[in-house]
Subunit: 443 residues, 2 copies
């Protein structure tokens, strides 16, 4: 049977993820892997999970093994709603949906929002698996530049005027760069998206006189008071705030979520915001349970739930109940500082090792948290050859070009610092630096 | 923010599933529910699951909580491959992918195969959540008639000549009718799809002289020997064999899967078949773990894996390891006969209760297994009104029209017999019969 002609047109957009395929190689014993976005397994709270599973099965076994509601287990949605509510707005359970890892949220968002040709603004480089999730919907990705303060919002206004369905951001410790969107940039982004006050080059054209104190007036408040009337004809752009790493901060002060800066409650108490916020228990607790969440206005959640019913009915009830039990037992709140300490040390170790072992002419980002940094090599380095030589010395990394949209990044590599122990990070960076020095000398 | 204009065109095809929404109502205490396709929770092997989870977390906790391969846990794929191999063909691990419930397989198949306008042949009535999964891809569904022997294959030939991308079938104890595709029909279907020997009306036109003994020659064998050459210009049609209930047979003899009748190994040992076979642990073991599988040629699995990477990275590793442990501990093999006995009794109870309490002029199917039967009422009964009156007496069912494609089935209702105990089945059918008799009397 010839299968190729039977595949749908959208499958031409599908490919196996380099990162996930590379993971199979890096699972070999002895390999020091800086490749995956893989948590340190020795830090998993295994006995606590065993206890949680035992409790759940003893106390509500039938419920935890039965089919469940597509929206997710009610008590878990309640907890997330409470955790993301603030003094100036309330998240209700109807604003929360549980998903099978936040990757599923990306898949569902692509299905629910993207027509072929829709413009999607993304940082460049950006998260690879978002591209994989959305490419089959055939949108037009528009790459945006960034610097050490994150996305360069100044570049945004003309693109927004041309119309864009979504803008996708990992504001905290972005994958693959590890950089964080600064607070002024967060405010500027929301003002820009909401058309309240555009960036400097456009100020003259559409400056609106809404008082700009320290805290921006949420867009929904402006909507309610009619202050946005002059720009309401503009096509709306949705912000997808993907926040898998936000809790893993090792230096600097925590910044408010875009959701937090933008959200307000409408007259009926409904959540009003242009932000769809994605979170996950994978990085702070356990990836193998595949439990994440989406926070959004109820109308959006309603549509995402319809898409999820068709996608997998619901996320594992047992996994959701185990997560809930871990939260109730205080394991999550103990695990977060534990990971911050351990991963913070690993980040420091990697930064020191890079300074010690990497040759002149290489640079790297200095993340305040998360799991990754991005190294930029001299432009003439052939990264495929570097990877081959590194693997021969039992060190793995991910070439950076896959994260880039426009053929850029061919001299970059992403290094993960959460998976290997400090000793192995030191050793791996040393080996990698050795290979590099050799290549530069002979190259 | 106005969300409606931002949704993609395909979302007009999405709606909340009546069945899953109805489940929320039926969760009320005191309700006798014939609505969902819900296993009996009191038959879940809860202590065995607790033991399995404890073993897994003790023996390979880090592995069971870590990210895993998109294809699924290797040992589980091995087990499925061995279970579906036969004397005349071997299923290899590369032919098996683990999915987040077999619902996810439907979602992935829709993504990978369906272009807008592709023709999809389906039994009528058919499985509701398949329609939900595929509708957003905007195929053209073509309803096929069926009788007590399952799909009427005679109707198929002209439709196949016109071209069809997929034919979707639940050959065993179909949802919602509970009917089973007979062995002669299975053979006829495969002959028809593979163009080897068409149904009576077409015999004259394209009869091929391949010797027809008891066992049909697998299509791939025919391909290999070139016997199908005369019809090889025909567009190929893929059979989706969805088999969630196959192990739950209470009477009659087990029939071979379509996969089993069709598959062969090619020269390199590759699996060759036009059948994609879907299975799940949800009905025979535990639905809340969300673990199912797909069996298909490696080329198809490869594409489905790409789609799954983008959809949810992988299915919960913990859930897969728990299933594997339950298999190794013999729990699956003990659970299947246990469910057969219990559900068989429930089916018998429902059939007797229907005979005793339902008025003349109503008919119903007599399933040999599975979880459902379909009742047909006199045509003038208003089924929405019946549901309302039934819910008022704490009995729930699903109106049959949602399972139908062409506005048919407005006087049908699906009854589930796996969830309620025999006593409650007797009581519920009695109440439902009482409501019906009343409605017929008052006209």
């Amino acid at each position: 049977m010839k299968w190729q002609p039977l595949f749908a047109e959208r499958t031409t957009q599908m490919r196996r993820s380099t990162v996930r395929e590379l993971l199979k190689v890096t699972a070999q014993p002895g390999m020091i892997s800086f490749a995956g976005g893989i948590p340190a397994p020795e830090l998993f709270p295994v006995p606590e999970v065993a206890q949680a599973a035992a409790n759940v099965l003893q106390r509500r076994g039938e419920q935890a093994l039965q089919y469940g509601e597509t929206e997710g287990v009610a008590e878990l949605r309640d907890w997330i709603a409470a955790r993301f509510s603030r003094a100036h707005f309330q998240v209700r359970p109807e604003n929360v949906m549980i998903v099978t890892g936040s990757q599923q949220a990306l898949d569902l968002i692509g299905k629910v929002f993207l027509n072929a040709g829709d413009r999607v603004l993304v940082e460049n480089p950006t998260y690879l698996a978002m591209l994989s999730a959305w490419r089959p919907m055939m949108p037009a990705f528009v790459p945006l530049p960034s610097d050490t303060d994150g996305l360069c919002v100044d570049a945004l206004s003309p693109l927004l005027r041309a119309g864009a369905k979504l803008i996708y951001l990992v504001p905290n410790f972005q994958n693959p760069q590890g950089i964080t969107l600064s607070l002024p940039r967060r405010r500027q982004l929301l003002e820009c998206i909401n058309g309240r006050r555009l960036v400097p080059s456009d100020v003259a054209q559409t400056f609106l006189s809404a008082g700009s104190g320290d805290i921006p007036v949420p867009c929904s408040k402006l909507l309610a008071t009619g202050k946005r009337a002059t720009t309401s004809h503009k096509p709306q752009t949705i912000i997808i705030e993907d926040n898998p790493y936000g809790e893993l901060r090792y230096s600097g002060d925590p910044l408010p979520h875009l959701l937090e800066l933008d959200a307000a409650n409408g007259a009926g108490g409904e959540l009003e915001t242009c932000v769809i916020h994605l979170g996950t228990f994978s990085k702070v607790l356990i990836p193998g349970l595949r439990v994440g969440w989406v926070i959004a206005p109820a109308e959006v959640i309603d549509k995402l739930v319809q898409a999820k019913q068709a996608a997998d009915l619901h996320t594992s009830t047992l996994c959701q109940h185990v997560i809930l039990e871990l939260i109730r037992n205080g394991v999550l709140e103990r695990q977060i500082p534990r990971l911050r300490e351990a991963y913070g040390l690993r980040r420091d170790t990697m930064l020191s090792a890079l300074a010690a072992h990497f040759p002149d002419g290489t640079t790297w980002t200095r993340p305040d948290g998360g799991m990754f940094l991005l190294v930029t090599l001299p432009p003439h380095i052939e990264i495929g050859f570097l990877l081959k030589r590194a693997l021969a010395r039992n060190v793995a990394f991910v070439p950076g070009d896959d994260f880039h949209l426009d053929g850029q990044g061919r001299n970059t590599l992403r290094l993960n610092f959460s998976n290997a122990t400090p000793e192995r990070i030191e050793e791996g960076v040393k080996r990698l630096g050795g290979v590099l020095v050799e290549m530069l000398r002979t190259g």
